[in-house]
Symmetry: C2
Subunit: 416 residues, 2 copies
């Protein structure tokens, strides 16, 4: 873990908001983030109620009405700005959910997603006022191999199923696998809660809930620009991450034509990584920094001077004044590092803390988990100083479906 | 329930931020909200990391560094701006925690609160970087009767203990009572998680966790000004609420000199109110509006025309064109209403949704729950159209301690 997050310098949240999204490809472009007008009949209460005057000067517009378009070559929620609140909702298909039923299910999901993410409540939404403030809601849909079997599409790719066993895994705590995944994220927890409830209700006749996980990251508007999010161990988490603008991003992350009906989608690996924060807190600062290979203060690699910043490349050959490796041989960033550029993954993790257990909802996107996530995790599973304080207690792999355009149905390629 | 929130017009969050806090009394005043400088040695990463230029024009300052002072006649967290994320942490005292130990515990808590809320990590904080972005963190401490017994202070007030039994209560689900309460809230979930962990660790030798509850409300910056927060039933929740600027606010909410060591504190009633959202969703809109007595769209009372707004006073004598009560006789707002102005409470509730259960963390502050909350709840328990969809499954009463000033110790009056 601590291979997290999407906080690479090319994808700061504010720069997306202000038209800096030019390099992000077909999924969305300039002007993609729109303030929602008060078009909804029930949304009057969303206007200022009088008696309160805004102070003059620079005031941020409320972002509750902001919309992240759901249409595009790729689904929203993978490279679009991450929401401060996220829920992963996994389901098992009911026995009677055959290909026809799945077709209906995807049509219903399409309508729900188009409505909820645009702030115009779907017709069946009993609480349209809760839908009217989507706060950049994104709903991303993934499938397990069972969906492919039932629609009799091409055989599932090798990687779509349980990952190989890692020796330190302690799975079986209730957060493994699933036939269907919804990733619901927004900058407002109420928007997420409402969308999750709507989707749950509309899926009820097709699938049963299997597990759900809630995550969070720094609140929108709280952040300092250009700084990667910290995880609950205090680490800047996810410093090294491919950027959507990188030349090889598509070949690392988006499934290609060889993936047939999944082309334009991606493979998600979600790992629930429990942190032993009580014992972590007892380690002194140098000990913690040696375990990671970076300074806690600014994320600079131990191979560079303090203050050199998190984006200074780690020099794994550097020695300290005693002739020892500046970055210890078993430090997390050394073990996670690969010299093979094709072995990279696009990380996008969140913290979780349910009151009794805390850690990281480690999420990464890639073309092939077996050749990208697995070799990295094998090295970490074998040796990583951080292992004393982290345990993988949940694991799931889903094929994130390709994007869809207005007039199309999400998942339509499965039935083509 | 749905008697919630603090969203009365006099306490909009932004007006506090911009110096509109003049009427709020001694607890805090103009200039109370300060941007935190980069004083912390480890906080370099909190500065923009270069390579990213802010677009010109109006841009909100990140609020992660904002501080809500913890010192004053009253503790922060009661009338100060509510955080988007909140945790209620209840503890049971260990057998060996005698008066001396409680004295030590309160001294430790004082230091933790002063440090964490000011963004300057307490010395013992192993993750000072996580403390550096408090995002208006407030930590509020309450006690049960056992603390008063152990410090051999005056006898506990009558109201400090379990509430009278209400016929519809279904308590015993694990969210009742407690000897000690911490209310931790901020606009950033990471700040809350970090503070909760620090406090938990420092309390470990004095007390055991009893229960914990997480709540949320609309994200900071998402809101439209002047609108009360919606609960998960879609209702504008907490429209009628005394305002800290009201002449009788102090006599309604803050404990007076007759309360001895608790003077300057207040009484908190916390009720976990489960919502049956699945069946609520099946009721048509008119049915839901009749149950509440207000329109879902804008919160206007059914006694006034649509669009008249949530702050139009309800006219309980009004009749519709058929001669029936415009606000049904068993509607929630009619049953909750009292003609006795001394029976009012200061509500400040949040939503909860742990994936399997959702509802409201109903919180209210007052001088005496037995004469303020209890008569209201008796009426609702007896008859309230909303009862079909809400059940109280947790209940606790705490004495929120008086405030403390710099150089003083929180809870010091208990030992005077």
């Amino acid at each position: 873990m601590t291979r997290t997050d999407d906080g690479h310098p090319g994808l700061a949240r504010r720069s997306l908001l202000t038209g800096g999204a030019a390099g992000l490809g077909a999924a969305f472009g300039t002007g993609a983030l729109l303030g929602l007008g008060g078009g909804l009949a029930g949304a009057r209460a969303l206007q200022p109620a009088g008696g309160e005057t805004e102070p003059s000067g620079c005031e941020a517009e409320p972002f509750g009405g902001e919309v992240l378009p759901c249409h595009g070559a790729h689904q929203a929620g993978v490279v679009t700005p991450p929401g401060a609140n996220i829920r992963y909702l996994a389901y098992e298909l009911r026995d009677e959910t055959d290909a026809d039923a799945l077709g209906r299910m995807f049509r219903i999901l399409t309508g729900d997603i188009e409505g909820l993410t645009s702030g115009v409540a779907p017709l069946a939404d009993p609480e349209p006022e809760l839908a009217a403030r989507p706060a950049r809601l994104a709903i991303t849909v993934g499938i397990g191999p069972e969906v492919l079997r039932r629609v009799a599409a091409d055989p599932a790719p090798d990687w779509l199923g349980p990952l190989p066993v890692f020796s330190r895994d302690r799975l079986g705590t209730g957060y493994d696998g699933g036939d269907l995944l919804l990733v619901v994220q927004a900058d407002d927890a109420t928007a997420v809660a409402h969308a999750a409830r709507m989707l749950d209700r509309d899926l009820a006749s097709f699938a049963r809930p299997r597990w759900r996980q809630h995550g969070f990251r720094q609140a929108r508007g709280a952040e300092s620009e250009g700084t990667t999010t910290r995880n609950l161990m205090g680490q800047l988490d996810g410093t090294v991450n491919p950027a959507p603008a990188d030349e090889d991003f598509a070949s690392l992350v988006w499934l290609g034509e060889e993936s047939g009906p999944l082309a334009g989608g991606t493979a998600l690996v979600l790992r629930r990584i429990r942190m032993e924060l009580d014992t972590w807190d007892q380690v002194d600062r140098p000990g913690r920094e040696q375990s990671v290979g970076r300074r806690l203060s600014d994320g600079s690699p131990l191979s560079s001077p303090p203050g050199s910043g998190e984006h200074t490349p780690a020099d794994f050959a550097a020695r300290d004044e005693l002739g020892l490796s500046a970055i210890p041989v078993a430090a997390h960033i050394r073990r996670a590092h690969s010299s093979n550029p094709a072995e990279r993954i696009f990380r996008r993790s969140d913290n979780y803390d349910d009151g009794t257990e805390a850690g990281l909802l480690f999420a990464c996107y890639q073309r092939d988990p077996l050749t990208q996530f697995v070799p990295i995790q094998r090295r970490l599973d074998e040796v990583d100083l951080l292992n004393e304080w982290v345990t993988h207690v949940g694991s799931a792999v889903f094929a994130i479906l390709p994007g869809f355009r207005a007039g199309e149905t999400l998942g339509g390629s499965l039935f083509a």
